[in-house]
Assembly symmetry: C2
Homo-oligomer: 389 residues x 2
Amino acid sequence: MSTKDRSQEQKSVSRGFDFELLHRDSESEARLGKITTPHGEVETPVFMPVGTQGTVKGLTPETVHDLGARIILGNTYHLHLRPGHELIRAHGGLHTFMNWHHPILTDSGGFQIYSLGALRKITEDGISFQSHIDGSRHFISPEICVEIQEALGSDIMMCLDECISYPADFNYAEKSLDMTLRWAKRCRAARHNESQALFGISQGGKYTTLRKRGIEELVDIGFDGYALGGLSVGEPKEVMREITADCTPLLPEEKPRYLMGVGLPEDIVESVYHGIDMFDCVMPTRNARNGMLFTSSGKVVIRNARYREDNSPVDSECDCYTCRNYSRAYLRHLFVAGEILAVVLNTIHNIRYFMNLMATIREAIKNDYYTTFRQNFFSGLSGTETENK
Amino acid sequence: MSTKDRSQEQKSVSRGFDFELLHRDSESEARLGKITTPHGEVETPVFMPVGTQGTVKGLTPETVHDLGARIILGNTYHLHLRPGHELIRAHGGLHTFMNWHHPILTDSGGFQIYSLGALRKITEDGISFQSHIDGSRHFISPEICVEIQEALGSDIMMCLDECISYPADFNYAEKSLDMTLRWAKRCRAARHNESQALFGISQGGKYTTLRKRGIEELVDIGFDGYALGGLSVGEPKEVMREITADCTPLLPEEKPRYLMGVGLPEDIVESVYHGIDMFDCVMPTRNARNGMLFTSSGKVVIRNARYREDNSPVDSECDCYTCRNYSRAYLRHLFVAGEILAVVLNTIHNIRYFMNLMATIREAIKNDYYTTFRQNFFSGLSGTETENK
């Protein structure tokens, strides 16, 4: 393939999918962009709420969209096991099935299968595993992984990868990387539906040399976007930040860059600084269910007795439905009483917090003050961390 | 008190509360009416969804209102124990606390305390009981019962009554009735806030003579409305229907009539026929959480395997959000996966079913075909009962 051919290939891996780089922050690697998919456009940097089993837990899709979410993540592993991807295909795909008519990214299931530990076995062919639900045996190859995601009909599919534990020794990380790269090629070849974008996933553990070679080979295969995988798996925070800082500049500028499974607001702010465009994490939804709320002045653990009679909103700077209409005392009451509405209202708040954060990030990049924003964010944060002790 | 005085008293027991009889069905006792409260108007016959702990389980107040609910019921017993009525008073009352700015009726707690069985002791003074939550000891007298409901700030308060078991012997029922009547007087006398209406509760078990005398004495005390209590406590369905048919005509025509804790759609249709205006029941919300959905063609138990691949809505005749946007297969998936959205979507459907039923009932009364509607309802119902076997 000539350079010219490859350049064209890079531009049009998928029909209906596009990424446009709109602006670059003048003092950092932070970028403003726009992803176009068959189900709509997404401004980046973007955070994707997680809809594990065909639902962002507790919320209707209309509410999720009203909160500002423009793309959500669906879990291939979970949906394959239950209700089954063929059932979803027969319903016209995941968008119709779950009534979310905006972009969806599906992961490959690699991370969930990795989490199964002893219940999975990995070979060159693919991954054999037992269901966490009923112990039934399953096999996912790169080809099957793509087939499932095509049945789901997501706008962005992810390649099957081996997610390795931290720490892994160099030899294991290298062998695993090579297999993940062969799997990436097989995923690319297995694709039938060109209206669904396909992203490659960088592996290689904590070894920058492996990461670097892996990214080069992935780019050589050619994908619609590139993800950093194998992070947020127990490594120290500095390792995650170092790999993000080292690897992001290696990813093609004209493609979206996705840091999988991240994360905390501070990790998002830091990673955007290095040029990451996309994030996903269960944190806003899971923490909401556990009664932990993100606010402009630090974390609020709503069941705390100090909020028993507190008639102020969770976050006086927040514009969400929950903060506009309910007191901390009411939210504490709902949580302590085990009421379902506690989950609903907490999730609304946390997702809105993340959506507002991303909007602020995009605004800062657009107006070339991302570095200042980042400094203020971290000085504000360290203040509240102290306060919360 | 002269007859004229009493008539005026009957008309204006509370400020801001009113009941207007708009129309009487030409062939039955069914009535169309309008209740006015400080928080808005309510067309009758009306069904009140239950918001036990300051929330109609799973739904935001806006959703409850959008579904057609115009008045909800709050539980004095539950709110007294958790979060405490003084906390709610400090928040400006239950309307503000829970963000429902429409009418609220609070029960007296009598039924919940009755349900505690051995954990309660009843004397002339009031009821001593232990909390079902933490075993703490509490005491509620008629005066305290009114005080709690005034703290909650409901639009309609209920008198404290003794709810007796079925069957109770005549002597016990009579002694209990007399005490309930003395309590009713004490509640009436204890009231401070005239903007909150107060309803009396008819007791007397299955004994029509007791019921009759009790109602006469209640009317003599003078309330804003009258309820039939002590039903739906395990008696055969015929007993409940017989008492409703016998007692409803004894209640003052110019006051709303409330059949407490009822109930099933067929019981509502039957009781409206005899002249009942108000209902409440946990059935639509509780059954929704258990995956049982009311439909125009009978009950649907959504976890049933027959719905696994069923891409039709729960009820093709229903106009609710759930039926307009989701398939039975999706709802089954959510329920089987234990997703919170299952509760939300099922509850939306069931409440809408009840609201649509009440709207149809009011329309039938307005146009003088309630008898025909009732006949069609029961012939349709018997058909589907057979189908569901």
